[in-house]
Amino acid sequence: MTRDLRVQTSYAILLATLLAASTLLIQQVDRVRDDEPLQEVLYIPSPKVVERMSLGYSGLLADIYWTRVVQYFGTKHKAKAKEYLILEPLLDMTTTLDPKLLPAYEFGSVFLAQKPPEGAGSPQGAARLVEKGIRENPQSWKLYYDLGYIYWLELKDSAKAADAFERGSHIPGAHPWMRVMAAALAGHAGETETAIYMWTNILDSSDDQVLKANAINRLRCLRVDSEVKVLQDRVDEFTKSNGRSPTAWQELISTGLLRRIPVDPKGNLYQLVDGRVQVANPDLFPFIVRGLPLGRESGDLPGTSGIKNAKK
Amino acid sequence: MAAIEIDRLEKSYKTGFFGNRLVHGLKPLTLTVEEGEVFGCLGPNGAGKTTTLKLLLGLVFPSGGTARILGRDLNDIGVKRFIGFLPEQPYFYDHLTSLELLDYYARLSGVDPRERKHKVERALARVGMSDAGKTQLRKFSKGMLQRVGIAQAIVHDPKLVLLDEPMSGLDPIGRREVRDLVQELNEEGKTIFFSTHILSDAETVCDRVAVLNKGELKGVGVVADLLRKVSGDVELVWSGAQAISALSALGARCHATGDVVRAVLPERVLETALDALRNSHARLTSVTPVRATLEDYFLARIGEEKPNEVNA
């Protein structure tokens, strides 16, 4: 029977080899296609038409589009993309096919609004999406939360933000901190503290890994903002006392203004450049507004320091 | 050289919901068919005749044992050029004409392209279907299909022809034609092996027969010998009802129509019976030995438990 065994083994090996080869080819094909297939969402004049054509399986189709949203964003984000042209149409399609897909609105509220490469840089689009979500899901207080976040952080409109939180706080089941946020914004409480409060809530209440990672990132950047402020205050104090700016942290330690060499959340030393406190590597903290090197603005793309953000 | 040598060939199937029951399609069979014979394989439906054929033809794989065809092993694909096969209730490609069909088979059998056309036409002529050469097979009756089937079995001039129930579905004329054809082929030197459950057909045409029942070989032998063993009666016809009682006493079974009596009695009491008739002044019309039929042999064999070689 060994002849039979040899034959069976040959077949098995041949089959396995061919399948392995086909797998490699698929990977190549995927690479070449890139997000070409997703482009087709731009060609569809009306998502409503697609919904009707899906013959009642719109839920499944919505899930498929949702997967594409995640894949699209993930791939582009890793490559530090400068634009996310298809994100909004994809999210629009997903939420048309399944208007109750709350994670899609949540995802869009964050990643449509944030500036590239952390998002599509279209807060207006984000607001539009969330407003749609609110229309379709009037009982979801969280969407008001997302709306408030967009108005406050990205569109810098505290009044509209406070209004969104206020409206949301009245919905049965709304988390108490909706009212807190409304009050804080209305009363122009410290920006950084409010922001920390908000992102911490997002981190705690979200199950989505991508959103959590983003929240951690933002919290880290807020910590940098706050640490840089404290350090800068100490440096200014030194300058006032000694008539010149310090050139090294050691000087502040000797005078008792600092206890030890300051290190940023990523483990690099804070730098002292001409009396200015800076982070060693700004690319690690995409959301900071303080501690940036001169000429670099908050939200500038890596490697473009000094270039004003002309495109909007 | 033996045309077919079967040595302990057997086939069992796993059945039952868990595949734990074993069904014996064919118990170990040992049989030899000599070259130039017409060999009949008899048995009721389900006896294992078709299984034997399929094992010989490589359609089904044996569970044990071996077989040789024309001196070559079963698995030798080269030997297929020299055998022809007609399956039970054949079906062919609906939309081909009989000429196209035979040409197809001739090609597959490797018939020399120069001779192909001629052989195809000859085969068709032998089965009496020359006129229907250009008609599509879906228009054929069962009998016509059967004949085309035989044609494809012989178109490549095989040395051994295997037929599974060749006479089924044919009217008496058709059956006679097949019988004649079988004899013709045999006269050309071909070995014929066919299976049937119609015993009278086998009787007139076969040199030797084997009897199968429930997957087992029950008996093998030369037809004439087998018949001689089982027969032994004589039929008397006379006029003279008065003799009935005397002959009945000898063990005759009498049947009277008016004054004409027909009686069957054992051969050994023939002389005594003839005397009795003379004494009764009956007028003897005929004395005929009752031929045993294969049916008698068959029924006798099927009734027994063990397989038995009935040869002198």
Partner: protein, 259 residues
């Protein structure tokens, strides 16, 4: 061997082509192509777009249906009705030659099929666009990839009919076509899943035929050129995958007891 392969292939082709069911389906497809010319009249700008979308989709879908039904029909019929016995039992035809010959015959049939439907399609395109231009070369590419789809599904239909009944084979074939269309999305799902589910999904997403990459219809309708690298890779993929499927078919068929 070649002689036998050709004989079986040509026989399969002949048998399929003479079956009138084939023509009905082709006619249907052409009707749809024709009607799409009318639909397009609704809006002049998207006339050509509608025609290409609808026309190519019809060719693709009907072709797949034909491929499945003929593929399964021919082999199952042969096994059920024993034509197979006369071919395998008393002819020096190896079992793999039988499968390969059937496959080649089916591919021949489908190629002719695709050509016929293309003629109708291009006639409609010419009518709508008042002539053929360089952009129409991409339409040929699209049809070529559709033909590759046919080859793929035929191999699968053949595989299923080596071990399954006609009804189940058809169901499996349609199901795997549906799944294969979303193969890329399946890979996306797999990346989001974790643990055993993730592994299983990843495996499945690569084993399933990648029909997703063979459909360039909406691209071509908007005059976007197809990357030549993609054409090459797709061709290679279909060759390799078909070879794998055929290997499996032959493997199963060689071991099968033909009761």
């Amino acid at each position: 061997m070649i002689g036998r392969l050709w004989a079986i292939a040509y026989n399969t082709y002949r048998e399929a082509v003479r079956d009138r069911v084939l023509y009905n389906l082709i006619l249907f497809a052409l009707l749809i192509v024709g009607s799409s010319v009318l639909f397009g009249q609704i809006s002049l700008e998207i006339n050509r777009i509608v025609l290409i979308n609808l026309g190519l989709t019809a060719i693709s879908l009907f072709g797949i249906v034909i491929a499945i039904f003929i593929g399964i029909g021919l082999v199952s019929k042969e096994i059920e009705k024993k034509t197979l016995y006369t071919v395998l039992a008393a002819r020096p035809v190896r079992r793999w030659e039988f499968i390969a010959g059937k496959f080649l015959g089916l591919v021949m049939t489908l190629t002719v099929n695709a050509l016929l439907m293309s003629v109708g399609f291009f006639a409609a395109v010419m009518y709508v666009s008042h002539g053929l231009g360089r952009g129409d070369l991409q339409l040929v590419v699209a049809i070529y990839l559709i033909l590759l789809e046919f080859v793929l599904i035929t191999a699968l239909a053949l595989l299923f009919s080596t071990f399954s009944t006609p009804i189940f084979s058809s169901i499996f074939a349609f199901a795997i076509f549906a799944v294969g269309t979303f193969a890329q999305d399946l890979r996306g799902f797999a990346k989001m899943a974790s643990g055993v589910t993730g592994w299983v999904m990843t495996g499945a997403s690569y084993l399933v035929p990648n029909f997703a990459s063979l459909n360039v219809i909406s691209q071509v309708a908007h005059d976007t050129a197809v990357d030549p690298k993609l054409i090459l890779l797709d061709t290679l993929y279909v060759l390799v995958y078909t070879a794998a499927v055929m290997t499996a078919s032959v493997w199963i068929f060689e071991r099968r007891n033909l009761k």
